[in-house]
């Protein structure tokens, strides 16, 4: 078990799949599936390893620091890695259903997705600020490409906007990294954490890095690029963007805060981030309630959920940290499920306008069930992963006697109930019996599977929480 280079495999498996996919275009879907499954197995391997032995570090190709690249997996990384891998497999499978085999879109989607996944896994396992930059860029650029696979003008222009915003964010981040390196001469997170002190350089780096990542994450009010990109992309892309890729920048920010800034700079900037996160929860939830299109609704819901995760900054502590991690993974499942369900609806009726979905549930029962179950998690109602996360965050807020964070989370939950049920209530309108739609139920089953995963996370949180606690801040 220990002999197998699981960490490297999690990166290599999707990378190989992507490269082979570029060459063997006919078998690209099968290749993607195989490599997704291998990645999942490798991720599981990492998780088992971390669960048993705690944080693991490996130097790639035996090159030592500072020039070599070191991979590091602690509990948080392992947990997110596994969760993303599972969701990734589902998305791959869904894409196989969604895209016509051999189509142009399929040929470009699978390799890009696997490249993105490569970047994603590398990002999760990165241990220095520059590697984080590179992997984040890899993920972002491939994501932009993925958005553009839609091919229509809306998708292209929103991809372009996404790219420009992301470039700006990356550059801000990189300048921050440059400042840090200039001041301290190291890039490794732990080493930086050990040497970083108060001072103008640190302050500047903090401001630049935080702002850059806030732009990419996105943190309210810098989220302007996101809804259009999510809504205009092909469904599998929306699912993986909001479920998986969308958490990257946040992950980087958490890593850097945990490793570098958290201790010396005190709580004030963390509270600022929390305030923006809270504002984002409320803002995006209200906007989500007002959307006419289902995909936009889910997109805004994702922004709101991200906002909730940003609350771990002011609540920093073991329980809140676990809550944040839990929200990341359960939202990964739930958001993907919701997007897949929305995609199915759009595919069947040709639109995704919420007010015109009345009675559709009779024709697409499984789709609506999947959406409803994912909605339960998004609302943070028990039993679901969303509930567990909310519980951990709210409880921490009360433990810190800062009830206002709890209030924001609870109000956010109420608003999310409002938009989820806005979709679901139409399901109960009786519809005249129309022709049954002949189509594959695979996409429904996949959405349902993801939604059930989100629920299952709420039934047995013990194991994931134990994993997240490995190497977590105390």
């Amino acid at each position: 078990m220990r002999g197998v280079p699981w960490l490297e495999l999690t990166i290599l498996a999707p990378l190989c799949g992507a490269l082979l996919g570029l060459v063997l275009q006919r078998a690209v879907a099968v290749l993607a599936l195989v490599s997704s499954l291998s990645t999942a197995v490798a991720s599981a391997g990492v998780a088992v390893l971390v669960a048993r032995h705690g944080t693991i570090r490996r130097s790639v190709g035996a090159w030592e620091l500072p020039l070599g690249i070191q991979l590091r997996a602690d509990g948080l990384a392992a947990l997110v890695l596994v969760a993303f891998a599972v969701v990734g497999v589902f998305i791959t499978a869904y894409a196989m259903v969604h895209f016509e085999p051999g189509s142009r879109a399929a040929r470009s989607f699978f390799p890009l997705w696997l490249f993105a996944w490569t970047g994603l896994d590398a990002l999760l396992l990165s241990s220095d600020v520059f590697n984080l930059y590179v992997t984040l860029e890899l993920t972002t650029l491939t994501s932009v490409g993925l958005v553009a696979t839609g091919g229509d003008p809306a998708a292209l222009s929103s991809a372009l906007r996404y790219l420009l915003f992301a470039m700006a964010g990356s550059l801000l981040y990189l300048l921050g990294v440059a400042l840090l390196y200039g001041a301290h001469g190291v890039l490794d997170l732990d080493l930086l954490g050990a040497v970083v002190t108060r001072g103008p350089v640190t302050w500047g780096a903090l401001a630049l890095i935080t702002c850059g990542l806030a732009l990419k994450a996105p943190l309210f009010p810098l989220h302007g690029w996101l809804p259009a990109a999510y809504a205009s992309a092909p469904v599998p892309v929306s699912a993986l963007l909001s479920g998986v890729v969308g958490k990257c920048s946040l992950y980087v920010l958490v890593r850097i805060w945990l490793g570098v800034f958290g201790v010396p700079l005190g709580r004030a900037p963390a509270v600022l981030i929390g305030v923006l996160g809270a504002a984002g929860v409320l803002w995006a939830s209200i906007v989500a309630c007002r959307q006419q299109r289902l995909k936009l609704l889910v997109a805004y819901s994702s922004i709101a959920q991200l906002g909730t995760i940003f609350l771990v900054f002011p609540l920093m502590g073991r329980a809140a940290f676990a809550g944040g991690a839990y929200l990341v993974i359960s939202h990964a499942c739930a958001a993907a499920a919701m997007f897949i369900a929305a995609g199915t609806i759009e595919q069947v009726v040709g639109h995704d306008e919420i007010d015109r979905l009345d009675g559709l549930a009779h024709r697409l029962p499984l789709t609506f069930v999947a959406f409803a179950l994912a909605g339960v998690s998004a609302m943070g109602m028990p039993p679901s992963g969303g509930f567990v996360a909310k519980w951990l965050l709210v409880r921490t807020a009360f433990e810190l006697h800062e009830w206002w964070w709890a209030a924001v989370i609870l109000i956010g939950g109420l608003l999310s109930a409002a938009y989820v049920f806005r979709v679901l209530r139409g399901a109960f309108v009786p519809a005249p019996i129309t022709e049954t739609i002949r189509r594959s139920r695979a996409s429904d089953l996949l959405a349902l599977g993801l939604a059930l995963l989100a629920l299952a996370l709420g039934l047995a949180p013990d194991l994931p929480l134990a994993l997240a606690a490995q190497g977590a801040p105390s």
Binding site: L164, R198, L206, C211, P221, P269, V287, R290
Partner: protein, 496 residues
Amino acid sequence: MSMRAFLVLTVIVWTSAAWSAHGYLRDAPNRLSFWVFFALTMAGNLGAVLAPDVISFYVSYAVMTFAAYGLVVHERTPAAFRAGRVYVTMALAGELLLLAAFVLLVGTAINLPMGQVPAAVAAAPRRDLLVTLLLLGFGIKAGAVPLHVWLPLAHPVAPTPASAVLSGAMIKAGLFGWLSFLPLGHGTLGTHGSVCVVAGFVAVFFGAVVGATQRDAKTTLAYSSISQMGLATVAIGVGLSSPASADAVFSAVALFALHHALAKGALFLGVAVPVGASVGRRRIRALGMFLAALAIGGAPFTSGAAAKLALHGVVVRSSAAPTLDWLLSLGAIGSTVLMVRVLALALARNGEAAQRSSAMAPWLVLVLFPWLLIVAPGARPLFSWAHVWSSTWPAAIGVGVGLRLCQRPPARVPAGDVLEVVSVAARGLKPTLARLLLASQAAVTRFRTRRARFLARWTARIGRIDRAEAALSSFGAVGALALFLIVVLLLVVVPR
């Protein structure tokens, strides 16, 4: 021992009424309903008399009370429904008062044997309140003034056999309640006693005066019941204020109840006895009614005389004995007047149920049974000259007054007397109430409109978020906000 009298009267009155109803209702459309409620009421009444403990008493009593509603409204006429409404309202109030009393009395020990009740009441921490509740609660059933208003409405509208049990047996359940629950002989309750005595005499005269103005035999009979129950109330009052008289009160009230139940039952049934064209039957009916009326009037050698003698025995123990005694005799005048009126009204017409054949036999039982009382041991004084005189002169005056009234009947007081006043007052209040209702409806509407307007305003306000959200997606806004974020972050981290 004296409580057995209640069992006897209950059984006899109910049996005869049932017998009589069998014929009376032979072809009535709602027979089934009548018998169901008749049986239920009877079961409740018997249960109350036989109850071994408080809870069984209360349950039986309540069953009786609510089932009797079915008897009151049996005819389904508007008058019946009105009477029913009044009855059920009053009965419910009575039940509530009693429930409160029982709760105060026994707490969770709902199995308190009936025999221990008076002592328990006397020892209860809130004795006075408790006694008040009991007096009022049972007083409603017993038709004590001013709680009697349902009685003259309800008794006459019921089918005659039902009137007989309502007036004959059921109001005795109220008396039974008083006797069983009040702490007679367990301490002095002066105020309660005096109030009872006063209320009792008020009932005696009020019932007689109002009853004398009635045009309907059954209503007059109902007022007679009110008047007669006033006598029992007086006795209870004396018993409350002087513990020494308790035994006498028990036997007097029991005897009185027995007498009144049977005689009143006989009078009510007599109203309905059909005679058709037969002169013989008509004479029998007239004679029977006359005998029963004599008893109620307290003429010598009747059960009424025996009952009054017993009451006299109670009253003399009171501190105000001469006055009370005199008032009793005065009351007897009233009773007789009412009886004359009843006879005149009832005999002027054929039995109301002429077309429905009703058995005469059960009626005769009721007529004749009370006479047994005067041959009972202990009735010796009935035959003393003094007593004969004291019971004759009021009766004679009463007959005179009654006959005079028959020639020139006074203006009729509407049945339900005080209730009419209340209804008129209520009618006066109606516009006010309607205005209040309208005002409250308007307030609700106003609230709803305001809420709707408020919501609409806020929805519109929240709607502005759409424009703001659209603005947030421009490069310029994001750039400015990002710059702002950097500045704020710096401001926040840089120590001052």
